[in-house]
Amino acid sequence: MPYLEIDKLSYKYEEQWVLENISFTGEEGELIAIVGPSGCGKTTILKTIVGILSPQQGSIRINSDDITSSSIESRNIGYVPQNQALFPHLSVFENIAFGLRAQKLGRKSVKDKVHELAKLSELSDVLNRKPHEISGGQQQRVALLRALAPSPKLLLLDEPLSNIDSQLREQLAIYIRRIQKESNITTLFVTHDLEEAKMLADKIVVLNLGMILQDGSPVEINNNPKSIEVAIALGLKNLYKITSMRKNEEAKSLILMSEIGDIEINIPDDFDFSTKIKGIYINPTQISIAKTPYYSNNSFEGKVISVIPEPMFNQVTLLVLISSKFEKVDKNDIKVLRIHIPGSECDFHISEPVYCYIQEAALKIFE
């Protein structure tokens, strides 16, 4: 039996489904990331689990306990909203102690516990300050400790790393991971940033328009997005829509009219032509680039607009002039293609006309 079970959770607001049939599970001590673009219902999932919103259908079970219709205060779920919602009139100490006091713990044990937690999180010096008197990173840690102090059954974090300076983000991410592992509390966290999710999570749930598109381990999701929607939700680059397709009888291949131009792919003998291909992803590491034309299929002419050196490679960004033998193309319509090439091979310059060739292996098709 999984520790956390979300089963067919649906939430409707004013005749519109904000969440539809959300189901996923989590094991004890697991850190689960819910990833998706803004407005996709991520925060709403957290709000239904914590009890602020009541779902019209479905159930939430923690350790086999159905808590779907329990009141917020009886659920024992730690919640850190996106803006942290620290109690502005209470000191850092009082904020962290709030949940312990509600458990009617004695004065001494409350004090000891808060001091212990604060020491581990390097907050001992600021215990007497008000929330607005401490830094953003400290505020986020206080919010986390406040939620963790009463030892909740489940911890919910809403975009815990947003509004934090990029320098501190990594540090805070490591801190969250450490605290979560030490306390072994099953944690659900919401983010729009795939990198953040990959860095922290044991498991990723991809959400869009109130529905789960895919869930699995970070590696699984990253290497094998199930659909174009997942790829879009994950924010993959070099992703193009397919407007129409045409069979090439002689070459036994298929010509896809994409946003970037015609792309020809080989097809197996038993290919079903009624399949609708929605999009294509071009892996940036498997594109060849040269200063002379390739004179073959799947090659394009373009202009370099930027060359950015990354630690392992150079990212060359091209503006591609779209060409299609079959469809009318608007002359003004240009698309961006990103290519990763090893640092030593890069002697391309901005505004230089170049040619690129897309290897068959670079293509991933989304039906």
Binding site: S71, I72, S74, G78, N83, H89, F98, A102, A147
Partner: protein, 569 residues
């Protein structure tokens, strides 16, 4: 399920403020409506005869038209004088700018009776200014008794700050980048004004003008004293119908006509504030220009002299009545320093002239004020929680039919003038045990007058509380009620204190309803001042009024320390 349970809770919370408003506001008002239609007359079911009678009376028609005319004229003159000031205050920094802005709040917080007295002491026959002018030119500067110009001047004094302060916020909300962009696109000054500034400033001007109109249209104390028999607002006319002619049915009919006009104005006001989202101080753009840091050219001197003269005039208009009150309270009719006017207030004899000893009047004022401090914020708090119980899934208050209906009832007391309020309570309850305790009726009337303001302050404070904190508190194991006491109440406290003090300040300066209801034993400071003015003892009245000024200004200084108050509806 959850939503239904919440509706029940909302209902329970609304019982107290709901019954208060129903029993002391809605039913008495309906009673007046029925009186106006002659429902209680013998042999009648419904009749229009009272309306026909009051409208056929040539004096009523004359006063109705005059009332509208003077309110329009006041509004127009306030706009004319106020707009340049608001523009300069919004766009330029200069020495004494903040002092001028504080001066501008003075007329707004002064009770009308003090304004009236200030005018008496500054502009009445034999006043320092009039004497000086007479010595200089041989003519009196202005005659304020029984003249149109006297009333207009008093109303302009009272309302200019409304135009300047509101319009200033309006100007400040126009993004200066829009004008820079327009200039870079070579737009002429006139086009910038017509296409960019005017459309954005218009709703603010409209809303401010409507407020000025409604304040002047319902003016009571000023017109009652300065207007004599020649000039009467509907408010004064209704008062006379009741206490001079004892003709309640006609008074009721006039009340309904006045109410109709007020409702139309307030609906227009709401239309503008909803449609255009009238800007608030919060989103103001910073002032970047200075009047002073410029090369000393001729243009610089001319412009700054004009601005200086303008603000001297505005400053004089705003401060003079207060100075006048204090000056009159400390001098004899020969302009010699004296403290006699104050000691007179403690004489036993004075009570035989004004019906009650001034110390008792002060005690009454404080008693009513404290009653209202306790009641008005509590009612507002309950109403706010009752009305905003349900929220959308994004945490915003949910608008239901029930809520919008009660929302209208909350603003309705604003459309009902203080005399109407007093009259409605008087006509319904004068033969009931409630009326045996007049102080209670006065407290109720003053609470109804202060309530919309208290409600506004509480609502504003509450909207600043992040509702997520409440949910987090509950997720940490505290009940809804516990979260209210531990989280919301401490955060609401400054708002509650502000609402209480604001209500206190309104109560202590309230004249119309209190004057209407108070029998001699329950007179308050403003009523005492009025009686002293009526006896032409301006000096003693000034002594009394200076006490009122100190209490009122003191309350507002505390309010100002606690936070920002929006003086609008």
């Amino acid at each position: 399920m959850l939503i239904k349970r919440n509706s029940l809770k909302a209902f329970v919370i609304l019982v107290i403020p709901g019954s208060f408003l129903t029993i002391f506001f809605i039913i008495p008002l309906i009673n007046i409506l029925l009186m106006a239609f002659g429902v209680f007359d013998e042999g009648n079911l419904v009749t229009f005869s009272h309306f026909v009678e009051v409208l056929n009376h040539p004096l009523n028609r004359k006063f109705l038209f005059w009332d509208i005319q003077q309110a329009l004229l006041t509004t127009f003159l306030c706009l004319l004088i106020g707009i340049p000031g608001s523009y300069i205050l919004a766009h330029y920094d200069f020495p004494l700018r903040n002092l001028i802005r504080s001066f501008l709040t003075i007329p707004f917080i002064l009770p009308p009776i003090v304004v009236l007295l200030g005018f008496y002491s500054v502009f009445d026959e034999g006043s320092l200014i009039n004497n000086f002018w007479k010595d200089l030119t041989g003519y009196q500067l202005i005659n304020i008794t029984n003249t149109y110009e006297g009333i207009l001047l008093a109303h302009i004094f009272y309302n200019i700050p409304v135009i300047i302060r509101l319009t200033e916020i309006g100007w400040k909300n126009i993004n200066p980048d829009l004008i820079t962009v327009a200039k870079s696109l070579k737009a002429s000054k006139w086009r910038i004004f017509r296409n960019i500034q005017f459309p954005q400033i218009f709703p603010v001007l409209a809303a401010a003008s409507l407020l000025v109109f409604i304040y002047s249209f319902n003016s009571f104390a000023i017109v009652l004293k300065l207007g004599g028999v020649q000039f009467q607002t509907l408010e004064v006319r209704i008062f006379n119908y009741i206490w001079v002619y004892f003709n309640y049915n006609s008074a009721a009919a006039l009340t309904m006509i006045q109410l109709l006009i007020n409702v139309l104005i307030i609906l227009l006001y709401l239309y503008f504030s909803n449609k255009y989202e009238i800007p608030t101080e919060r989103f103001s753009w910073k002032i970047e220009k200075s009047l002073i840091d410029h090369p000393y050219t001729r243009k610089f001197f001319v412009r700054n002299t004009l601005v200086g003269l303008y603000f001297v005039l505005i400053g004089v208009i705003c401060v003079l009545p207060v100075v006048g009150v204090f000056y009159a309270s400390l001098t004899t009719s020969e302009n010699v320093f004296t403290l006699l006017n104050y000691s007179k207030l403690f004489d036993q004899d004075i009570s035989s002239f004004i019906g009650l000893h001034p110390l008792n009047m002060i005690a009454n004022s404080l008693l009513f004020g404290i009653g209202i401090i306790l009641i008005a914020p509590l009612l507002a708090l309950l109403l706010n929680y009752g009305l905003n119980y349900e929220t959308t899934y994004k945490g915003r208050p949910k608008i239901t039919l029930f809520r919008s209906f009660t929302g209208i009832i909350v603003i309705l007391p604003l459309t009902v003038s203080s005399i109407t309020l007093a009259f409605s309570l008087f006509s319904l309850y004068r033969e009931t045990p409630i009326y045996e305790n007049i102080s209670l009726v006065i407290i109720i009337a003053q609470t109804l007058i202060a309530f919309p303001f208290a409600n506004r302050i509480i609502a504003a404070t509450r909207s600043n509380i992040d509702q997520t904190t409440v949910n987090v508190a509950r997720s940490l194991g505290v009940s809804r009620l516990g979260a209210f006491f531990k989280i919301e109440l401490p955060l609401l406290l400054p708002g509650i204190v502000m609402a209480g003090l604001f209500s206190f300040a309104i109560s202590i300066g309230e004249f119309g309803a209190t004057y209407f209801l108070s029998k001699s034993n329950f007179a308050t400071i403003p009523v005492g001042i009025y009686r002293l003015i009526a006896m032409r003892d301006v000096a003693a009245a000034a002594g009394f009024a200076s006490i009122l000024v100190i209490i009122t200004v003191g309350s507002f200084m505390i309010i100002d320390r606690l936070g920002k108050v929006d003086f609008r509806i």
